[in-house]
Symmetry: C2
Amino acid sequence: MPPQNSVKTDIAALIDRHDLTALKKYLEPWLPMDLAPLIADLPVEELAALFRCGSRELDATIFTYMPLEAQKKLLKVLTQEQAAALLNALPPDDRTAFLNELPLDVAMQMLGMLTPDERQVAQSLLAYPDHSVGRMMTLDYVAVRPEWTVREALDYIREHGYDRETLNMVYVVDEGGHLIDDVRVRRFLVSPLDRPVRGLLDGNFTWLSPTDDREKALGLFRKFDRVALPVVDENKKIIGILTVDDMLDVAEEEATEDIQKLGGTEALDEPYITIALHRMVKKRASWLVVLFLGEMFTATAMGHFDVEIQKAAVLANFMPLVISSGGNSGSQASTLVIRAMALGEFRLNEWWRVMRRELGVGTALGVILGAVGFLRIALWSAFSDVYGPHWALIGATVGVSLVGIVLWGSLMGSMLPLLIKKCGFDPATSSAPFIATLVDVTGLIIYFSVAVLILRGTLL
Amino acid sequence: MPPQNSVKTDIAALIDRHDLTALKKYLEPWLPMDLAPLIADLPVEELAALFRCGSRELDATIFTYMPLEAQKKLLKVLTQEQAAALLNALPPDDRTAFLNELPLDVAMQMLGMLTPDERQVAQSLLAYPDHSVGRMMTLDYVAVRPEWTVREALDYIREHGYDRETLNMVYVVDEGGHLIDDVRVRRFLVSPLDRPVRGLLDGNFTWLSPTDDREKALGLFRKFDRVALPVVDENKKIIGILTVDDMLDVAEEEATEDIQKLGGTEALDEPYITIALHRMVKKRASWLVVLFLGEMFTATAMGHFDVEIQKAAVLANFMPLVISSGGNSGSQASTLVIRAMALGEFRLNEWWRVMRRELGVGTALGVILGAVGFLRIALWSAFSDVYGPHWALIGATVGVSLVGIVLWGSLMGSMLPLLIKKCGFDPATSSAPFIATLVDVTGLIIYFSVAVLILRGTLL
C-alpha cells in the first residue's frame, strides 16, 4: 500500500488531467473502507469529480464509510441529479443514519430527491424514535413460505436475493406475512432439495419490535448469538431485520456514553477530536459547576471547625489525604457497581447483596489505609519532632477516621447508583467525581468529629 | 413462560421420579440460553441427572451457556465416560474457552478424555497466547476451489457443511490451502449454477493471524462489517475463522476492563457480584494504597503553609473546594482522551491537537468556575461579615487560583494518558482518582502561592 499522502496527490493529479479511465484503474484495487478516509480529506471539488466518475454502486459504498462532515460537504457540491442518484443507491439503514444527522430542512430536501418507493422506506424508518430498533433496521430480507420445498426456496432466493443486505438468515412467514420461524441459510444449503421448508423449522427464534431500545437489541444479540434478528410489528408481521454488524457500533457507542458519564461529563455524542470547542465546554461545564456548588458545602462545614484548625493546623495538613481516600474508595465502588448493573449481574431488589459485599470490602480497605496512615505518622515522629508529643493521638485520629471514611465512601459509592436507577435515571450519572464530591463533604465532618473525640484535652 | 422457581421445582420433581420421558417433554420448548441459567442453580446431583437424560447435542449446547462455576461443578459429578462425551461434543472454540479457565492439571486431565482428533484440535488452540485470535477461533469452516462451478461448490457444501459452526462465508483456497478470497454464501445462492467460483471473487478480503490480539480483531470486524474473518498462518494457509458473535463478548469485556481501570481499580476479571471478597479487596487495595501514598504529599506540601493557615484559617476552608475542582476537570479530560484513543480518533504524535483543545477548554472552564467562586464569596459577604473586610481579596485568591488549577487539571488529565501510552503502558491506568490525586498535590501549591501573592500585606 503506497503512503497515504502520495495516494492523495496521485488522485488529485488524475482528476486534474480529467483522465477518468486511469483514475478508475488506479482506484480499483482499493477497498471502500480504506479509500473513504483517504479521499474524505480531498478538496471538495476533487471529491465531487471523483464521485462523478465512479459507478453508482461504488460511490454509495464509499459514501457510507466516509465521515459525516465529508458526506455533507460532498452532497452540497454534487448536482441535484447526482445527489439523488447517490441517495437512492444507499442501503436504507445507512441512509436513515445519515439523514438523521442532518438539520430537519436539509433532511426534508433530501427526502424529496428519493424515488417514491425509496422515499416511503426512508420516511417509515425516520418515524421511529432516536436510538430505536426501527431507526437501525434494514428492510432488505428474504422471506419464504413453509409449504415450499428447499429447492423452491433456493430458486426464489436466487431470483430475488441479489440485492439483500444480508442473506445469512431466511425468514419463514405465513400467507399474511406473520413470522413463523427464522432459519440459518446454511440449513437450506445442507438439506435435501425436495424437503419442505416446514421440515427445517425448530421453533427456536426471537424478535424485536421497531420501538425497542437499541440496548435491548444488543442484549438479545448477546444472548442469541445470531447474525441478524427479525423486527415485527404489533401483529407479528415481519417488517425488517437488524444485523449484528450494526450492533458492534451500538456496543461501542453505549460504552463511550457510559465511560464519559463516569468521568463526570455529559456524553459528547461526537468525536472528542472534532467536536466544536464551545460545545465541549458546555458538555463539561454543567457538571463541573454542579460539582463545584456541591463542594462548596466543604467550605461551610469547615467554617464550623475554624477553632480546631487554628488550635491544631496539623489537622488541616492531613485533611486532603483523609477525605480523598473516601472519594477514591467511593469511585471504585460506584464504577464497579454501575458496570455490574449494565451487564445485568444482579437485580435492583438484590441491593442488600451489594451492600453486604461493600460492608466487608470497605471495612477491610479502611483498616488497610488506616494502618498505613498511622504508620506514616509514627515513622515521621520517630525521626523528627514534626507532630510533637501527641503524635500517637494524631495518628489515631487519622487512622480511625480513615476506617470510617473509606467504609462510608464504599457504601455511598455502591448504594447511590442503585438509588439513582430506582428513581428512573441513568446510574452512570453517579460518576467518580460526583461520588468524590459527596464523600468530601461528609468525610470532613467524620474527620473533625473523630479529631474532637480523640484530641479533646490535649491539642484541642 | 412459567415463573422460574416453579420451573426448578418441576424439574427437580421429575428427576426425583426418574420420569425421563416426561422430563424431556417438559424441557423441549425451552431455548438452551434460557434453560442454562435456570438449571445452573439446581443441586449438583440433579444437574448431573438432567445431563444424563438429554441427547448429547442438547447437553453440549446448554453447557456452553452455563456459568463457569456450574460447568466445573457438573463435570466433577459426571462419570468419566459422560464427561468425555460432553467434552467431545462441545464446539472447539467454546471448549478452548472452558479449558482455559481451569487449573492446568484439571485441563490436562480433560484433554486426556478427548478423542485423538479433538485433542489435537484443543491442544493447537490452547497453544496460542491468552486474549489471542488463536484462542477464540473455530476450526469449522468451508473452503472451496476457484475452478469448481457454483453447482459443485453448493453440492460440496451440502455434503460437508452440516456441522460447520458458521456457513455465512465460504473461503476460496488454492490446492495448497492458501487463501485466495472469501465470498459471502449469498453470492453462491444468487449466482448461475454453471458459473465457475473464480467468477465470484472480488479480491476484497482481509485476514487475521492466530497470534493477533483480540482487540485488533475487534477493530477489523468494525471496519469490515463481516460476520466472520479468516485466520491464516505465516504462509497464508487458512487454519480457522473468527465469528462476529464472539466479538460482541470481546467488546463487552474490553469495555468492562477499561471502565474498571478508569474507576481506579484493577480489572476484576470476574463478575463483581460473585468474586471472592479477599480477591476484590486485593484488586482494590493496591491502587487505593498507591493513591494514598501519593496523596501524602499533600500533607507535606501543606506543612510548608502552616503559618499561612494559622494566620488565615479561612484559606483552609476553601482548600477542598479549590483542589477538588482541579481533580474533577482532570477526570473529565483524562476520561475523554482515553476513550478517544481507544476509538482511534487520533494518533499519538498528534498530541499537540489534544493539548490545543485542552488549553482552550481548560481556560474557559477555569474562568467559569473562578467567576462562580468569586460570586459566591461576594454574595456571602454582602449579607454577613463572615469573610471580614478583605473579602474581595479572598474572592480574588479563590477565583484566580481556580483558573490556574482547572487549566492545570485539564492539561495533566489530557497529556498523562498519552505519556503513559507512549511508555508502552495501558492509558486507562491514568484513572480519574489517579489524576485527582496528582492534581490535588500540585493544586495545593498553586492555591497557596496565589494566596501569598494576593494577600501579602493584608491577611498574610
